[in-house]
Symmetry: C2
């Protein structure tokens, strides 16, 4: 009867496992995706850990680099309402995993309950005998001298004649140490393992300068080459940029080549759009000879390194009708009923110069492998940064696979997602592995929307996996708010991109020179570099270049500016002024105050919480404007600021003694 | 090379599956626990369903009773920001499951893109040819005449000479029907299956009257029995209660028996605490002979049925030292170092009359089976409601198992969790299966805390699995706010319990008679019935009994009052008045307005959103107070109320034409 009956209880359950662990943070989609970090970052983990009844519960955090043989165990501390917290430091690049253990801690319960009885002046003879049992249970888990000491302690607790000594031991620091060091994790609950991906530091802190190589020539009679680009490196490094991002450098197609301003009728000397990739000279694995040779490109990569810069390539997975894949792998494209290949469309618009890849191809495996081959080839050329063009029009599963594959071989590789699309899609791309992401910053101009966006980026779950990279413009986007060409707005939009997040970029020469003429009615540049060769006066300096140089240097010198999630939005009773504080555990504290109104002087009282800058609210301190060198003595939490957009539309204060 | 290379792509992935489904609501802990419903309820499901790129995505909801052979498929509609919504009705008790399918809908994409081209006046020859392919693909999935019709339609689309007819078909209602009816779910993503538990209606709507059987005697010279209890049923039914809950009815232990007011020294005639379960006469499977025989108890259960009432038993898993388990299963208890059994403690307090069960017993399987036997035995006695005493001091896994086991045999069984403990623990008990739960209502007295609590219960994830049962008092709790004995407060606390949630209860005679004397300094009754026999004047009527009868009748007659999550808190600019609206899809609308101040008249303007009562904001309507019969003509969204606690501290309006 009993046998038959108990078979109603599944064999695989342990009925005595009483602890529940849930609501673990961070945890992305049940642990399906990794949170992101860089070496030196501290990961703080919280969870609800509880059991039935009144017994004490204990919780520990476990973590390891996947290459480590052993887990490291970390205390978790009780916060409130069954919530526990623990932290660990990630020191190396690569994959970490972490998890949580919780158990009903009879040992701790025993100590606390005995303590309550002692305080109630009860004689705790029976409790000491229980204690002796617990101490004996510890012996097998103990190290070195502790084994002997525990045995003696158990004897002591059993000795009725040594009650006072027992009391002394019971209350000793040693007793607490033993309890913590040799817990009895009976029927413990262990949570699933959750992943962390640790990138190299540049994933978290970078300043991107984007330009077309063909516009790098100082000689107005010819287009630029990699060699010309090399000559510009000292200037870009001096401006303080550490990434040079260049649009595709592959052979450009001939069929349906676009002319100036995206005209469907090109002239014979039109150089074509670099995104119409591929010709009889090759595809994504070939170099456009107009820019130079592969060796020239490698020389550019090497030269950049000398200036502490890196070159980011541009991965646009699409083809011109002349791309070798069209001939060799027609199965990678969509075929129309008439047997022709489907060109790109955004109905009713047609883009006959571009063939999109069909990620639902029967030969998707072959396609994936070819794209992997391309990325690995670029890596062999020395490239460790890839900006991906429109990743949101390619399958998520492909990115998840190819990024993981790449990292296995090249853990330094950083992928920037150029997805300007719906929020869920942008988030998903970050989840599946993109290291950095373009954002809506380009269109967030008012204080309320900027503050809401920053709150979403730095306070929601996104903060764990989505690293924003702010761009005030790109070669595709000439935002309406800059089309006036009003200088203070160029300064403001640059400044916020460079200070709100730790990753930012500009479409360089165009932004520097404050080019603003738009294609009529569009958020695009007139005479865009996408369709023609430009020549720039690289000796030109202006207020903006002065500030770029300064801000980039200040970013390098102040660790608080090298992170994004350390942002605190400061209250200020003026809808035209935005203020934000960034702090670093090393004591570095940066306060930015920006007048969003490019036309008028604005003033207000800004609130800097004393506790965030390590001060009492009655203490005075120095707000040192690193842009002007001026120092202000501030006291209390509210202080006055006034910003004239025609003089300097922002403060970049370091909080000093 | 290719073979070796593609082996880098795991065999088990389908790279063409492009749709992501996430953030499904409702979903409790990844589907580990069921949401709850009753027959006739509509379950609304939302999810993010999206893919890369610009193709159209479609989503469908699937559900079935686990006994159904087939799934039912339901349309989901697009809301905004990649969010989709669908609903289904649960008609029967038992287990349902639901899930979501999403796929890239090339068919719908084709239709919309072609439509855009037609609107742009393009000739869509090629698109019609594609359409013919899609139509042919549908044939194999089509039923009856549609197969032939689809074949003809494909021919039509291919016929260059019948372009106008093709256009007509393209824009026809029939075309849309086909697209919806015969989708091509290529590479579809199917979400995991999520559970619903459908209880019988009483789990959602019940009025509990709690009393001690031994206090049911009308003869002051002797204690009450089941037979006396039967005689009280007509009165309780007349008051409108449908559940009679009685504390444990098992033999009471002798060792360390408690006397009056929880005294450790009992007198020979003290009847003992019913929670000190078990004596030489038996344990949880035996009946205390002082109350009658098992047949008497069964007679009570049967008699209750005649009055549309049910008897709820009380499951307190603990023993007096005289319980048979102590002798037969000492391994189910904690043994102290001296070999004695550990009694209950809340250090420094000791409860030597109670032995708690050790759910970490080596023989936990035997223990679980014995408890299952007890519950099944009670079910054989005709019991279908069990109030569980302190379930939070027993293992969650046990409850999960035993509730599931019970429901397999007795799907009508309802378990009420009497857990007054930390929020996470109360929630977990509801997740693992308790049908109803006691709440913090007993201590929520101010408007802000009541509104916050109602918002948590009816708006947070709790609304899917936690059914609150509000009690203004219990036999254990004489709340401070009622210890004054002030009549309006008894009316108010009763009224809110009975109207805020659809399940409520009172510790009956004590509450009815407005007994309020407290054990000094405690939230307990003086001369509590837990320790002694009481006699009540069952003929007594007062303002409260008058209102109880009325409110219970109104609850029966108004379906809006039979649910909890249909609550809308109404704005009113007076912190002493709380107003809430409940609506039912059948048009029933109930507005409660309560003056929380038991001392003073309070007035204010109450806001009833016109859309929630199916009116335009300029329309007038009747607010019919069902308690007084008075009708008020209200117009607009803001109307005046004034409540005198000494007359009637609340309105119970039905919104009428």
């Amino acid at each position: 009867m009993a046998e038959q009956a108990t078979s109603l209880i599944p064999d695989n359950i342990e009925g005595r496992r009483r602890v529940v662990i849930e609501h673990v943070v961070p945890e992305i989609d049940g642990g399906m995706y990794a949170i992101k970090a860089i070496p030196g970052e501290t990961i703080t983990v919280e969870a609800d850990v509880f059991a039935d009844g009144h017994d004490k519960v204990s919780a520990r955090l476990f973590y390891k680099h996947v290459d480590d043989p052993e887990w490291t165990e970390v205390f978790m501390t009780f916060l409130v309402n069954d919530r526990w917290q623990g932290s660990f430091l990630v020191e190396r690049q690569g994959h970490y995993i972490y998890t949580i253990e919780g158990w009903v801690d009879h040992l701790t319960s025993w100590w606390h309950e005995t303590e309550l009885k002692i305080n109630d002046k009860q004689h705790v003879r029976m409790e000491l005998l229980m204690g002796a049992q617990f101490l004996e249970g510890m012996i097998s888990r103990a190290f070195g001298d502790d084994q002997e000491a525990l045995r003696n302690a158990a004897d002591l607790f059993r000795d009725e004649n040594r009650y006072d000594d027992s009391m002394q031991l019971f209350h000793s620091f040693r007793m607490q140490e033993w309890i913590n060091r040799y817990p009895e994790k009976q029927y413990l609950t262990r949570y699933r393992e959750l992943p962390v991906w640790v990138d190299r530091p540049k994933a978290q802190f970078s300043a991107w300068y984007s330009m077309f190589v063909r516009s790098s020539s100082k000689d107005p009679s010819r287009a630029g080459t990699f060699r010309d680009q090399i000559e510009l490196l000292p200037r870009l490094a001096d401006l303080g940029f550490d990434v040079l991002y260049i649009p595709p450098i592959h052979p450009i197609g001939h069929q349906f080549r676009k002319g100036k301003n995206n005209s469907v009728n090109s002239q014979p000397d039109d150089p074509g759009v670099p995104y119409a990739i591929g010709s009889e000279l090759g595809g994504h694995d070939a170099i456009n000879p107009d820019l130079g040779t592969l060796d020239d490109f490698k020389a550019l990569v090497a030269a950049a390194k000398e200036y502490d810069m890196e070159v980011a390539m541009d991965l646009a997975i699409q083809c011109s009708p002349d791309h070798p894949w069209v001939r060799e792998h027609p199965e990678w494209f969509k075929i129309r009923p008439d047997g022709t290949i489907q060109y790109a469309e955004n109905p009713p618009k047609k883009y006959q110069d571009i063939y999109p890849i069909n990620f639902e191809s029967e030969d998707w495996r072959g396609l994936w492998m070819e794209l992997r081959r391309i990325i690995f080839l670029w890596a062999e050329w020395g490239v460790r940064l890839i900006r991906v063009d429109n990743p949101h029009t390619k399958a998520f599963k492909f990115w998840e696979w190819v990024i993981a594959e790449t990292r296995r071989e090249y853990p330094d590789m950083i992928f920037l997602s150029e997805a300007f699309t719906r929020p869920k899609v942008m988030q998903q791309l970050a989840k599946v592995g993109f290291s950095q992401s373009y954002t809506y910053y380009t269109w967030r101009t008012h204080k309320q929307e900027l503050e809401e966006y920053m709150t979403e980026l730095t306070q929601s779950e996104m903060k764990y996996y989505f690293r924003p990279n702010f761009w005030p413009n790109t070669h595709d986007i000439n935002p309406y708010m800059l089309q006036s060409g009003h200088e203070p707005l160029f300064l403001i939009r640059y400044f916020m991109a460079a200070t709100l997040t730790s990753n930012y970029g500009i479409f360089g020469p165009t932004y520097e020179m404050m080019v603003h003429e738009a294609f009529p009615g569009k958020e695009e540049y007139l005479n865009s570099e996408k369709y023609e060769v430009k020549h720039w006066d690289w000796n030109k300096e202006n207020k903006l270049t002065y500030l770029i140089r300064m801000v980039n240097r200040i970013r390098q010198e102040n660790s608080a500016m090298q992170f994004t999630n350390n942002l605190h939005l400061c209250t200020i009773q003026n809808d035209q002024i935005m203020a934000y504080l960034k702090t670093h555990p090393n004591g570095n504290r940066i306060l930015c105050v920006v007048n969003l109104d490019g036309q008028n002087k604005q003033a207000g009282m800004v609130h800097v919480p004393a506790n965030l800058i390590g001060r009492q609210d009655w203490q005075s301190y120095t707000a040192h404007d690193l842009l002007t060198g001026r120092k202000y003595t501030w006291s209390g939490e509210w202080n006055f600021v006034e910003l004239d957009p025609y003089v300097m539309p922002f403060h970049l204060f370091r909080i000093e003694d």
